[in-house]
Amino acid sequence: MIINGLFDFIFGLANVLFEFLPSVEIGFGTGFNTFLSIVSSVAYLLPMNTILIMFGIIISLMIFRIIVSVIKTIWQLLPIL
């Protein structure tokens, strides 16, 4: 009963806020399916497995660079060094 009341209040509050949200419907249309088919066709012509691996390597290296840069920046900011 108490918990019910508590959640009535919380959900009621949330509902008031959500009432301002417009009804959004996102879905496939025929045109989108055609677009996906074209993307799929292009991807089918390429060695996507290889490309995805390379993409993964690039992302990994970028993360590595960022980490190194952060460490170096912190190192330079330290006044005692």
């Binding site: 996102i26 989108f32 399916n33 060695p47 995805l52 660079r65």
Partner: protein, 657 residues
Amino acid sequence: MRNKILVMILIICMLTGTINPKKSQATGVEIAIVIGVEVVNYLVLASIASGVAVEDIYEKKNENDGNWISVTNKNGNQFELASGAMYKLSQGYAKSLVDSLSKTQLKELSSAITIDNNTMKVSNVGEDTYNSINSMNEMIRNNPKLKSYLNSDTLTGKTMNQIQLELLKTAFTSIKAYNPNMNVLELSKTYPYYVLFPTAGGYGSTSIDENKRGYVMAFSQYPLFATCRQENLTGDSKQLFYDVFMYNGEKLGSVNNYCWFNSNAYGGTTIKSSEMTNNPFEFWKSGVSVVGNGLMVVGNADYIRLSDLSFPNHTSLNWERYVNEVASRYYSLPISCLNSMTIDTYMPYPKDGVRVKEDEKVVIPPITSLDNVDDLAEYVNSGSVKDTENGRTIDNSDSIIRDKVINPVLDRDTTGNPPIENDLSWLDRLFEWFNKHLTSLGDSIVSGIGAIINALGLTGLIEWIGEICGNILSGVVDGFKSIGNILEWILELLGTGVISAITGIGSVLGDILEFLLGLIEGLISGFRELLISLFVPSDGYLDAKVLQLRTKFSFADGIIKIVKGFDSALTGTAPPIVKLGSLDESNKYGINNYVLMDLVWFKRYKPTTDIILSAALWVIFIWRMFIKLPGIIAGYSAMTYADAKIDEYNNKQGKGD
């Protein structure tokens, strides 16, 4: 336990001979309604029976003689049938059959069978079943090659796809050998039955008449035989019934004067008219088997997609194996009497071709080039197998019956309620988690309050009060009873009537006090219930709230679907076909799906081009990485690294900025 389970399976098959086609619900022996009485039954029976044999006596099996199962009919006649390696091929049937029965039915049926050493004894088999099984058994016993096959491990190590393709090839080779000049389409018009597509564990067939064309196919989870039916293609009355059992291109045996399709045994149905559809696949997906003209099309319910069978120069056929999962939850029987459905209901179909379901798409091979058996055989024989993660390998250690089939069945819900949807969206899962934890929060609150009460000694106090009251009341009761005893002793001297009256008073008072004691205990438990009612949300309360909120976030599923669409577009392995989409009547160019681009032709070149392009890409990529390596190690780009070095040099030379 193992034997008991397998015995149940066998019994289900054995009792399929007593027929009452129109009965809608079956129990016990009436399960016989479900399945036909001839070859199918025998194969199911033999294979599943051999499951018992394999389980119990497989190691002792004799290559020549196999093991034997004793079958006795109601008149006391008896024969034995061979068993063997078919165990490994038949688990799909076993599953669908077992799934079809409730626990009560399983228990009821299991009482008709006993196992004596290496022989399984089945009694009270229906006469039709007995005769048909016996005739098949004789055929097998007289055919050493087939018998050897039954007891061999031929299929060990092969994947489902390999087996399926081999079965297809052998079947069409057989058709070609039988009559190379037959025109499949024309014959099918004359004989609107079936152009057989032998498949693993069941079969598919095309059904074509003058006005309607359709394609149905079905598979069991595991293959039994490649059976090739040729009679309906030729119309030769002398060869009306001719089954060929083949494997690996080798003819293992054949049966004359025996018609698979002539079975008049159909399953009772629980299908409602509202559940009917024009698409046979929809039946299968919704958990209904299709039976027509005695043709048992196995394969109801959920399907598991196997890998593609690729046919160069044509498109790909996606073979799916069907397992009986949904059906067992929606319907009490796996096979439904849909004779009229299969006759009258054909999938709407264009001029030529075979329609094959490929997920939600329909792929139509150019069947116009396959209008004779030669082409048909060539078409199938051009196939190749691409094993995937779904390509299940059959091995001797397979214990699907015991671990994956039987146990879940015994635990399943037989109330007929629809299954719980497991495919939750992320939002559902989120709210499910929320709901679950809130419920546990409620419990925690209750237990927390209980702990506080415990910590404060209140529970002890309440219990102490209860105990004190109980003790006091019990003491009073005992006291009254003691008084009664004393009075009894005293008044014994005065007379029996007075004694009984006084002891009666003491007893009544004791009962009253016991009632009060119970009342106090009730109050204590009531206090607990009160806490629960105060702090634990009522059943379904949060579900309703979650549902209310979820409607506001329904777009999230659409986003997920789009992302998945991109993912499948980028990683898909099937050759894409770009279509213009459905045009409505207002379009002047017609109403249809127009193919803009079809990359099926590229499929055969893709492996080679992938290798070439990959090699080039890797060379370029590695070179680029090599160039950038200093920058990567230093934590910034190569150009920045070079600038820094120049600056450093200039500073040393005193030429800094």
